[in-house]
Symmetry: C2
Subunit: 396 residues, 2 copies
DNA sequence: CCGTCTTTGTCCTGTGAGTGGAGAAAGTTG
DNA sequence: CAACTTTCTCCACTCACAGGACAAAGACGG
């Protein structure tokens, strides 16, 4: 089965493709309003895109008082695969060229099983989505992994929570298996791109996206571009010292943010509290499920459990303090909170806000919204699709 | 007296001007090797620049085995004014178009006297430089102020240490007085630009430039561009919490980095130590000068005074800890330490390095140089000249 | 001193990108 | 059915740019 072979031949075509991706179908006239090209030149470029099959003209739009326009849209058969590998689960989704999710699967998994096992699972999920008729094949795939990535090569480097992935040629391997171009990035960066494309960060050029899941990371967007740092580890805030001489962390230091607040730390704290008899609510849940997660803490807090609330507040204080520092440093226009623990909801958010607004200078916080992500678990896969589409919709 | 009136007419010309600024005089052939234009097109653009007077052809270069080339250089009469307003002194310098310092003045001053008084002083210094024959006039000026700046307008906003400057139209006022274009930025950003142009950060795209003077700030360069944040307060790290429940700070919080280590804090600590009899060395200097500054502490430390050394180490630990967090977050390729307290030299640097290398993840620090700035007090004025030249050497 | 080679710079022509206007096509409205 | 709008196409003209031919100016060996 032949998939997308063509790429935009020049910057104009790339621009048009991205406009159609982000703005949906458009007439030639509407496109002309957005690109600062003469109508004639625009017509030429659109015609060339039509020839390549990247875009199609389907039907006429309603008249706006004159001749009806032809709708130009991205080829409806284009399919992108978005993969978001977390520490304990995988998300795989198919999107169309406008990055709308057509189908989405989520399965539990352990990254520590290594790339081979995980890839097998990802490929079977991709095959299942294809088999269900959502895609005849994939024109490109984006994949996020929970660790630093050498971006140009698409290779994880020194990932703390996923040993066995270090140096594994993710991009190349997946590209081989799927038979399409692949781009790899850190999962947090993809979440940021997702929220920038279709979530709360639409049309925000400078923002931070803090993802609190099993670990903690931060996507950094400056002037509309993701900042990845020189070795791809930018945003790795989990090991910033939050508590002087605090708890020992897996990294060898003490007092790391991640050791004091993250999905894993919260679960451990809750279990301790339950076992020590400090919370009946949590103890009951522990007995019922045989284990506790952030979800249990959220439920207990919602039920009014004081211990659970205290845990959330304490954690929120830690994260808030670190975020306050980052806000002073980076002066973003928006802070997005996402990841697994967003189930903790308003209590967490309120605590973080209090810390940030109290500790950062008014000039930096005066007009700074701190909000929860809008897309939840789909942020990562949408970001992944966006990543590969950005790549494919650029001149070859 | 007529000054530079022309601006590059297109991106090619702008590129050529910047090449000549950063690389010095060049032949057409050498320029051609750097710009990816045909020789004919290049010749046309160079001719146009010659017509405008922005560049001149002066003499022939030595032969390299064939016809001798004509030297093309930026107009030798072009003069930029670089102004660096600190908390307690002003630096003013004249540069040629290659941003080489032709004359440099430094005078003590107190920003708190307000913009009018300070401007008077700056203008008289600029006049003195002109009178000494270094410049017939100024083609542009860059100015750095020790506080956040709304960059597009060139107006300081809510600057904590310089009340009275809030909202003062620095750019417009100075432009009026000098009769040339002016650009305004934060002093730390200009230091970063200076080190990027002619100092240790040459050809580094992502780095941090920490300036420790009366206060503490950090210049952020991402992908070769200064990141200023949405309100111009990016890099304002002086009020990041360094010590939980630490010393009260002028900003109203406790434990701010600036309250624990900066030129001002260090002077205060040293004075306390001298008065409490903890250091004979410092006490002697206090008696001799009637006051202490970071310079005294540096001298005492150099003389082997244990208390002075301890003060430096303690401060270095604080700054190092904060920098460690920023390194984890931003993943720069270089950290430059500059500002008044660089006189503390190797002791300070060693302490900072220890903290950063100990607290940040190996991937971020593995190949991370942490060095002192190369330009000292000239970094700011060179950065200022670079700022305005970047502006003037861009298409109008 | 002279021919050959190298480097630098200029000139000229062909190509393709891009603009802007004329006008055709396809509507709406009165 | 005429007048007006909006959309799209066609065409002629301009300008940017590449690339080759060629002139200028020097090095170098014989």
């Amino acid at each position: 089965m032949r998939r997308m072979t063509a790429r935009p031949a020049n910057a104009h075509q790339a621009r048009l493709l991205k406009l159609l991706r982000d703005g949906g179908p458009n007439s030639r006239a509407q496109l002309g309003d957005q690109v600062d090209l003469s109508r004639s030149k625009l017509a030429v470029e659109v015609d060339r895109l039509l020839e390549t099959g990247l875009v199609v003209a389907d039907g006429l739009a309603a008249s706006r008082g004159g001749r009806r326009s032809h709708n130009i849209r991205l080829a409806p058969a284009l399919r992108f695969l978005g993969v978001d590998i977390g520490a304990t689960s995988v998300d795989v989704a198919v999107t169309n060229a406008e990055l709308e999710i057509l189908g989405h699967l989520n399965q539990p998994m352990d990254v520590r099983e290594g790339p081979v096992a995980v890839f097998e699972q990802v490929l079977s999920m991709a095959a299942k989505l294809r088999a269900s008729g959502l895609a005849e094949g994939y024109d490109g795939a984006g994949i996020g992994v929970p660790g630093p990535v050498r971006f140009p090569e698409g290779v994880p480097v020194a990932p703390p929570i996923m040993p066995g992935w270090d140096g594994f040629p993710v991009r190349e391997a997946l590209s081989q298996e799927l038979g399409c171009p692949v781009m790899v990035d850190n999962d947090v960066n993809l979440m940021a791109m997702g929220e920038m494309h279709a979530g709360v960060a639409r049309s925000v050029g400078d923002f931070l996206c803090v993802k609190i899941g099993t670990g903690i990371g931060c996507g950094i967007v400056a002037a509309g571009d993701v900042h990845r740092g020189v070795t791809g580890s930018a945003g790795d805030i989990g090991h910033i010292q939050a508590v002087p001489d605090g708890r020992p962390c897996a990294c060898g230091n003490r007092g790391c943010l991640e050791a004091h607040f993250s999905g894993a730390a919260l679960a451990r704290d809750a279990t301790d509290a339950a076992q020590q008899g400090r919370s009946e609510e949590l103890a009951a849940r522990l007995a019922a499920n045989g284990g506790l997660t952030a979800v249990d803490v959220a439920a207990a807090a919602a039920a009014g459990d004081a211990t659970a609330l205290a845990l959330i507040r304490e954690g929120g204080d830690r994260v808030g303090q670190v975020i306050a520092g980052l806000v002073s440093f980076f002066n973003p226009g928006l802070v997005v909170i996402g990841g697994g623990v967003t189930g903790l909801g308003h209590t967490l958010l309120a605590t973080i806000r209090t810390q940030v607004y109290r500790q950062s200078l008014p000039l930096a916080t005066g007009n700074l919204p701190i909000v929860l992500g809008e897309l939840g678990p789909t942020a990562g896969v949408i970001g992944a699709a966006r990543l590969i589409s950005d790549h494919l919709f650029s001149p070859a």
